[in-house]
Amino acid sequence: MTPLKLAERILQLVPVLLGIAVIAFVMMALTPGDPVEIMLGDARSTPEQRDALRHDMGLDRPPLERFFVFLGNALSGDFGLSFFHRRPVMDVILERVPATVELTLAALFIALATAIPLGVLAAVRRNGWLDRAATIGSLLGVSLPGFWFGILLIMLFAVHLQVLPVSGRIGFGQEVPPVTRLLLIDSLIAGRLDSFAAALRHLIMPALTLGLAMGAILMRVTRTAMVEALAQDYIVFAEAKGLSRARILGRHALKNALIPTVTVAAIETGSLLGGNMIVETVFGWPGLGRLVVEAIFARNYPLVQAAVLLYAATYVMLNFAADLLYTALNPRVRL
């Protein structure tokens, strides 16, 4: 990877973000609904007051002008004020990012830790009982709605066994000084095992809900790729050379089979980094998903536009990271 290639990738971001900005703006502009009316709800208000609010929100200007003002400000990193929070949009968004990142990493960990070993074993013992069980398990994982599964976990672990908390990230008195704002890491940095345990207990159920669903998909992808890899000539050759089974599976088959897994994992991770509305709602997890969905319903244009741009940038960067991983897994792949 030369610096030139890296620069090229970063430059590619520009047209992508510009396109996304246009689409997001046009879609929000075309959606019916008036942010001022939504903000006021049934509350007493006068026409003059509604005009003043509309002016504060910049909605008294024509759409085209609004778009270019938005674009100009966005270039200097200013995404405006959230209509409802009446604070800078980026503050509102960024304070929700750590919770989403922590949950995504935990879910990704659970997904990979279940999917790769199970996928490999299922492929190796194809049509055996483990393969069948894993196939049924993954079918369940893909098809069970997260909402239902999450509530089920809550009923079992929080209400009946009372070993896990229903909602939130950490209890009162367990907070640690923010460094990374990922509570598991910050509690270790602070040397607070009690906080670490508390953060982990809060994280387990939402992470399982997301992680097992993602793991189910990854397992099927890994299994299929592994089955294919195991049928390749180089595996037969490796076996003929007398290499150990573990070495053949790990070094030769798995490494090649992981490329589709990495691709799918990157896409899934990208979507998790956008925040998962359902899991965040069920577990009261203070992530991005709920914030953005609420903003869409409230026609909070500045917040939605900024979030959409952030999502787009995240996807592009994740794809880039996946490409880098390909080259590590298979030197024949060149960027």
Binding site: D42, R96, Q162, I204
Partner: protein
């Protein structure tokens, strides 16, 4: 395969930590509320959201407060008087401290009201709560403990709205600035802010030198619990689970299907109070078939309110013959009741020239589709064949802003008003072309009554005007009158001294836990 082994100890550790006793601190003086939404801001002057106000009210007091039977009583004010139709004088309580330790004086009151009233007074923006101070022109400082509010024109409900405007500290607000007021708090209320974890929790602790609150709202004195935590749990099922698990002591918006479960459980209870949000179905008065009064009256006879209340709303609603709460000022208790009668409905339809019935569409937003479908069936049985169309809330509201041109027939609507004065619900919904007038109803006589009542300072006369307007509307039936649901809360058995407020806010000054 070393890569695989590394996760085994991690998982084992996770399992160990997860299954270790949860050890929720059983602190007797910590009260937790499972709350359906987070505050949008902690700045009392910068929102129009009831849930936000519910949290803020625990940290900020106002000059006046409201009792649960909706009387206005002194809070930060010691007394008040109306000097002339446009001037009110308030005497402040002495020695009241902000959480910062500063004393609250007339300076702070003027600053608070200027911030609400003056354009661009909030860091270049105008307060969205401006209309809650009505035609307030200026706030004058008479002395350190006396202020005068001068109105541009008489506004008889000025004091009814004073409880909605919490007093902020002038020096603190000037120091931190309006943007920081969104996330910091310095009020005179029973609790002070410890931490706001956005989207997760608002943590408050008792303010030790609280002046005690309104003498009319016992118990007077500091809050009874050391700490209050509003835990944000948006999902209803999870909120109920948190209550059952003993994680929280109060939950809001209890779903009807969970009522029996909580009542049967010795560790939980159900609390309810009349809400402030009326439900009704606007009929499009501007086009056939509902431009005919007889058809609208037929529709009112066609629905069995009691059945829907019993079966879908668990009996937790009051049927209405108008649109304002029986607890509201100016409520007319002698309105004609449209009894449920398919025969009467059919007869009225036939009189209006529809012996074979009519076909209409009912627009509804998703959360209310059960109720709408039940109502549609009843209407259909009476010859008003009703098809239900489901919308996203905001898109539907946009469509119904202009009933004159939208070409639609009927919709399902509600309107809320924490002040329980007809001006909050009756005026926006029924005055010609007002904000919430989805039916397109317009009656110059009603408008005249409403406008006169708006500035009438004689309470009895004002009430009579509203009662007359209600009688006219009841007869003309621009809407199908429905019901006023109760607000339902779940609570733990250990919760003491707290009752839900008809204002729809959770103020925890008087609450205690065993």
């Amino acid at each position: 395969m070393t890569a695989h082994r590394s996760w085994i100890p991690a998982l084992a550790l996770a399992a160990f930590l997860a299954l270790a006793p949860a050890g929720f601190p059983a602190d007797a003086s910590e009260l937790r509320v499972g709350y359906s939404s987070d505050a949008v801001t902690l700045d009392p002057a910068n929102h129009r959201s009831r849930v936000t106000e519910g949290i803020i009210l625990n940290m900020y007091d106002a000059l006046l407060a409201r009792t649960d039977d909706m009387r206005v009583v002194p809070e930060l004010a010691e007394s008040w008087s109306q000097i002339n139709p446009t001037t009110y004088e308030f005497k402040l309580r002495r020695g009241v401290r902000f959480h910062s330790g500063d004393e609250m004086t007339a300076d702070d009151v003027k600053y608070t009201y200027d911030r609400l009233t003056k354009p661009n007074a909030m860091g270049g923006q105008t307060s969205p709560r401006q209309s809650l101070v009505g035609p307030l022109k200026d706030t004058e400082i008479v002395d350190k403990y006396t202020v005068r509010f001068v109105l541009r024109e008489p506004w008889p409900i000025f004091t009814a709205y004073v409880p909605f405007n919490q007093i902020v500290s002038k020096s603190f607000t000037e120091k931190v600035g309006t943007p920081a007021m969104a996330t910091q708090a310095n009020g005179t209320g029973p609790f002070k802010l410890v931490e706001w974890r956005r989207g997760d929790a608002v943590i408050l602790e008792r303010f030790a030198v609280y002046y005690g609150g309104s003498p009319d709202l016992p118990p007077v004195g500091p809050a009874r619990v050391d700490r209050v935590i509003f835990k944000i749990i948006p999902e209803t099922a999870s909120r109920v689970a948190a209550l059952l698990a003993g994680e929280v002591d109060i939950i809001d918006e209890l779903p009807h299907h969970a009522i029996k479960q909580l009542q049967a459980n010795p560790r939980t209870k159900v609390l309810a109070t009349n809400g402030t949000r009326s439900f009704f179905m606007p009929l499009n008065n501007t086009r056939p078939p509902f431009n005919d009064k007889r058809v609208r009256q037929a529709a009112n006879h066609a629905v069995d309110r009691k059945l829907v209340i019993d079966r879908i709303l668990s009996g937790l609603a009051v049927p209405l013959d108008g649109i304002i709460s029986p607890q509201s000022y100016g409520f007319n208790a002698n309105l004609k009741n449209y009894d449920y009668s398919t025969d009467k409905a059919k007869r009225l339809l036939a009189e209006a020239g529809h012996p074979n019935g009519i076909d209409v569409t009912l627009d509804v937003d998703n959360p209310f589709k059960d109720q709408a479908e039940a109502l549609a069936q009843m209407l259909t049985r009476a010859g008003i064949r009703t098809k239900v169309q489901i919308w996203e809330r905001t898109a539907m509201a946009d469509l119904w802003k202009n009933p004159q041109t939208n070409g639609r027939d009927m919709t399902f609507q509600s309107w809320g008003d924490g002040a329980l004065d007809p001006v909050g619900i009756f005026v926006p919904v029924l005055r010609t072309k007002d904000r919430g007038n989805y039916s397109g109803y317009g009656n110059p006589e009603v408008d005249k009554l409403l406008d006169a009542a708006n500035t009438e300072t004689d309470t009895a006369k004002r009430s009579a005007m509203y009662q007359q307007a209600q009688a006219i509307v009841n007869d003309e039936a621009p809407l199908i009158f429905l019901w006023l649901p109760q607000d339902v809360y779940g609570a733990s058995a250990r919760l003491k001294g707290w009752q839900p407020s008809p204002r729809g806010v959770i103020k925890l000054h008087e609450a205690a836990v065993d």
